[in-house]
């Protein structure tokens, strides 16, 4: 079975919305791959912490314009 992939664009959103979107995707998917685009270090930290607490592995891909692509896998 192919694992599901979901992409979320959380750029420009205030706290706690990026983490809320990531949490919703984690709950919906259960396992698979989630890509979250963020433009603040705070959102990156919050999502990384949240995902790790839920047992997902976290990889951060830094984009040239200062944004981050956070890749969550379980």
């Amino acid at each position: 079975m192919m694992s599901q992939t979901k992409t979320i664009d959380a750029r420009g959103l205030s706290c706690p919305q990026p983490a809320m979107l990531a949490r919703r995707a984690i709950n919906e998917l259960g396992k698979g791959t989630i890509e979250v685009l963020v433009d603040s270090v705070t959102a990156r930290e919050n999502i990384s912490r949240l995902a790790q607490n839920c047992g997902w592995s976290v990889t951060v891909d830094y984009q040239p314009e200062g944004d981050c692509r956070i890749i969550l896998v379980k």
Binding site: G12, C15, P16, V41, E45
Partner: protein
């Protein structure tokens, strides 16, 4: 340098920040700031509003250096660690309104969340009602967030925009140092345009250089650790994330110990400094404040730290706080030690209605 930064961004960051604030705030009281008000972002914004002549309560007028330090300290950290990202466009006018209503609520209670925790650590049990109101207000805000509330996305802005609020703070520092007096009242006496209290809480001041240094240090630490007195409660309820809550626990415990050590712990409900004991409106005031802070994304201190990162929307919230503090005194909304003022309860009711309308109607329009 990056080792220290990484440490502050770890789970220890909020704890260290809370501990430092918990030590500094009671010391600032010892050095001259009003009782249980080593730091109060709302009270200090109100003092700044008075110093600028936006209200005429002569007991609460002073340009508080701590507020200036918060923004400039956060600016320094943001520049050093490449987190200075000027941005705007996330419903600035609504944020201005939220700043106003947050201040209305906080001035009915007589303190922002920072001071609610400090009042508790100093033995003022009225703060318990305020903190319960704060938690209730945050919970309502969370309900709106779950229903899809959003103030929309900000977008990158020219670098110059990010320096506007820090520049305003530098201008305030100049006004604090020079205190120009070239206005005249009806009798021809020299007065204003900058007003400083000669009696009352506004006249109670720690030495300027120490207040400024404390503000700068707190601004630096809080920008790195994302310390937030509202986010701490919100994240536990909404995300089951206690990262920031440990910082608040450290803040309260350390401030309690420091108050004990300095002989500043006096427990009870009556005769507490710059406080009243009306339980209903201690709760009600912070209910409104908690809701408004949650809809705006963070506590008043956090809004100042975001200003240092170049967030022009947070700057509108802060401007709303200062203007709102002026209105709060001019319209008899702000409480006194005698209790709620004539229009405090009405202002809280109106604020709750308007914040509810904002919570139910503001949605993101772009996906």
């Amino acid at each position: 340098m990056s080792l220290v930064s990484n440490f502050l961004m770890s789970r220890w960051g909020p704890i260290v920040t809370g501990t430092v604030i918990g030590i500094l705030a009671p010391i600032l009281v010892r050095l001259g700031n009003p009782g249980n008000m080593g730091i109060c972002v709302v009270c200090f914004s109100r003092d700044i509003a008075g110093a600028l002549g936006l209200h005429h309560n002569s007991a609460v007028q002073y340009i508080r250096p701590e507020i200036i330090g918060f923004v400039l300290g956060a600016l320094t950290a943001a520049l050093v660690f490449s987190e200075f990202k000027p941005r705007t466009g996330s419903a600035p006018l609504v944020r201005f309104l939220l700043g106003m209503f947050a201040v209305f609520g906080a001035l009915v209670f007589l303190g922002c969340p920072w001071r609610a925790y400090l009042r508790l650590s100093g033995g003022d049990w009225n703060a318990i009602l305020g903190i319960l109101g704060l938690i209730a207000g945050i919970s309502i805000g969370i309900a709106f967030l779950r229903m899809g509330f959003s103030l929309g996305r900000s977008r990158p802005a020219p670098r110059a925009l990010g320096f506007v609020m820090p520049s305003v703070m530098i201008a305030l520092l100049v006004l604090l140092l020079t205190a120009p007096q070239f206005g005249q009242d009806a009798s021809g006496n020299v007065t204003g345009p900058i007003f400083f209290s000669e009696t009352g809480p506004g006249s109670q001041q720690a030495p300027l250089i120490i207040s400024l240094a404390a503000g700068l240090l707190i601004g630096l630490l809080a920008q790195r650790s994302r310390f937030c007195t509202v986010g701490a409660i919100r994240d536990v309820i909404l995300l089951r994330d206690s990262h920031l809550l440990y910082g608040i626990a450290a803040f309260i415990v350390t401030a309690f110990i420091t108050n004990l050590a300095l002989g500043q712990f006096h427990h009870g409900f009556e005769n507490q400094p710059v406080a009243h004991s009306n339980a209903l409106w201690n709760f009600g005031g912070m209910l409104l404040a908690g809701l408004a802070f949650t809809l705006a994304g963070g506590c008043p201190g956090r809004q100042l730290f975001l200003c240092g990162e170049g967030d022009a929307d947070a700057a509108l919230f802060v401007t709303g706080m200062i203007v709102g503090a002026g209105f709060a005194h001019n319209f008899s909304v702000a409480s006194s030690t005698a209790g709620p003022a004539a229009f405090g309860p009405l202002a809280v009711a109106v604020g709750l209605v308007i914040c509810t309308v904002i919570g139910l109607t503001m949605r993101e329009t772009r996906t």
